[in-house]
């Protein structure tokens, strides 16, 4: 190694590592574009035509979609609530500061990782096969999906609490459950509620497409209008969903700011 040089080694001077990595990523990207056939099947004509039809929404269709949109929201609400409630005990078991036994904690985390690895649409497909077509399948899918996501957010919240109050409770002769009730839970109630609302936001969005797989909600109507080329009706659906998502998002943002 020739040390005295102010510019460092040759490879450092010319950022050899960075250049090579950039080149590699570029290569992968180019190969992927070519293999998928991007550009070959995209038609601007069709795109403009679709947009033009959508620009004249068929408002008479609106009364039909009110109920499925409400059902979508209800599915998201029930699924998120059930998943969140299930996540609470598991998040305590997975938190490093509460469960000192690495094996138990590892087992719980492994289980949670597996649950989280399953995408929501796959869950919906599975539950349609298990409980049949309808909103119940959607609720089940959203429950499991929320459970996986929320439990991770929750145990991370538990791990960031101030340990001082727990120490004080232990010093006062409290047992583990009493320490959790008096020192941990008061510190995590607000982050838990905040994560619940955040998950609800995500689930309202996710539940709009679950209907494609027969899991209830507004997705079924999206599927129908698109396959009948009634883009004027699809436009009404999209606008309706957009309105709901905007309202839920701003409501949840507002509440979460109040909780912080």
């Amino acid at each position: 190694m020739n040390t005295a040089s102010i510019e460092g080694k040759f490879s450092q001077k010319w950022h050899l590592k960075g250049l090579l990595i950039t080149l590699l990523i570029g290569l992968i990207f180019w190969a992927s574009v070519r293999d998928i056939g991007v550009e070959t099947t995209f038609s601007w004509d069709q795109f403009w035509q679709l947009l033009a039809e959508m620009a004249h929404p068929d408002w008479s269709y609106f009364p039909v979609i009110v109920k499925p949109i409400l059902q979508t929201i209800q599915m998201a609400l029930v699924g998120t609530l059930l998943g969140t409630l299930l996540a609470v005990p598991f998040s305590f078991l997975a938190a490093r500061n509460l469960v000192k036994n690495p094996w138990l904690r590892g087992l719980v985390r492994f289980f949670l990782n597996i649950i989280r690895a399953i995408p929501d649409l796959l869950l919906a497909a599975l539950f349609v096969a298990i409980v049949g077509i309808g909103p119940m399948a959607g609720v089940c899918a959203l429950t499991v999906f929320s459970f996986g996501m929320v439990s991770k957010l929750f145990y991370e919240a538990v791990e960031t609490i101030d340990e001082g109050p727990s120490e004080a409770l232990t010093a006062a002769g409290a047992n583990t459950i009493q320490t959790i009730v008096f020192a941990v839970i008061p510190q995590v109630v607000n982050p838990f509620l905040s994560y619940f609302l955040y998950t609800l936001e995500i689930n309202v969005r996710a539940s709009t497409v679950l209907g494609y797989l027969g899991a209830g909600g507004v997705g079924l109507y999206l599927d129908q209008t698109l396959s009948m080329f009634r883009y004027d009706r699809t436009a009404v659906l999209i606008l309706g969903i957009l309105a709901v998502v905007l309202v839920v998002d701003s409501l949840s943002n507002h509440l979460r700011e109040a909780l912080a």
């Binding site: 109050p165 004080a168 409770l169 006062a172 009493q178 008096f182 020192a183």
Partner: protein
């Protein structure tokens, strides 16, 4: 003096951390019931470790600690929690639950006397609620009982922490640098609170302090630690101002 509760016998205890650092090195000392002991020493001398060994927030590697004759270092489960009830503790950072009310914080000091079920549902007896108010009264915080702890100043939080610790009906009161983050005025209030617990209720008080003047003002006995070793132990009547130079000197005269 003999049947008064609150004796802490520390018998040749040592603490070696897993990484080999020696926290406490063969400390042997008996703190008698009703004493007001101030432990002085540089940061890292082992003051906090010693205190946390007494109520077993930390385990020690060797030796025994007897609380009124019962060995806390061997106690398990219920027996350990019952012993801890007698050892109240306050902290440098107060360690209140900031998002709950002062009252609930104070009541939480009593949970060692309740079953899991009852305490979880918050079913505290009327007598204990009255005791909580009385303890807040004692530290002049009764008017703040139903506001959230994070609305209080540091000094007020420490006084609430004292009220909480008193809910344990302790015989020994441990204070780990209770005034390190307080201003001089509230420092005096908190130290006076501790003095009253000692004089009026006869509790044994053990305080970790940095300040030698405060030690001289409040202590009935001064103990000095240096690098985990007991290097000083005198009744207040025998203490010389110049003694402390030795405890604080060796690590360099920066302070």
């Amino acid at each position: 003096m003999v049947d008064q509760k609150g004796t802490v016998q520390i018998q040749h205890i040592s603490k070696v951390y897993p990484n080999g650092t020696v926290g406490l090195d063969d400390i042997d000392l008996t703190i008698n019931a009703g004493e007001f002991v101030v432990v002085v020493g540089l940061s890292g001398a082992g003051k906090s470790t010693l205190m946390r060994a007494i109520n077993r927030l930390h385990d020690i590697s060797d030796g025994a600690i007897l609380i009124d004759g019962e060995d806390i270092t061997q106690a398990k489960g219920k027996a350990l929690r019952r012993l801890r009830r007698n050892l109240a503790m306050i902290f440098q950072n107060f360690n209140l639950v900031k998002r709950t009310t002062v009252m609930r914080n104070v009541l939480s000091g009593r949970v060692g006397y309740y079953s899991t079920f009852k305490s979880t549902l918050g079913l505290f007896s009327k007598a204990d609620r009255q005791q909580a108010l009385a303890n807040l009264e004692r530290v002049n915080m009764a008017d703040k009982a139903y506001i959230r702890a994070d609305e209080l100043s540091g000094g007020q939080q420490q006084r609430v922490a004292i009220a909480r610790a008193m809910m344990q009906s302790p015989t020994v009161f441990l204070a780990d640098e209770p005034i390190a983050s307080l201003d001089p005025k509230t420092t005096k209030m908190v130290m006076d609170d501790l003095k009253r617990l000692n004089e009026e209720l006869g509790m044994t008080v053990i305080v970790n302090l940095h300040s030698v003047p405060l030690a001289l003002e409040y202590a009935s006995r001064v103990i000095g630690l240096q690098a985990g070793k007991l290097v000083y132990d005198k009744q207040i009547a025998d203490v010389n101002q110049t003694d402390f130079a030795a405890i604080y000197a060796e690590a360099g005269d920066k302070e």
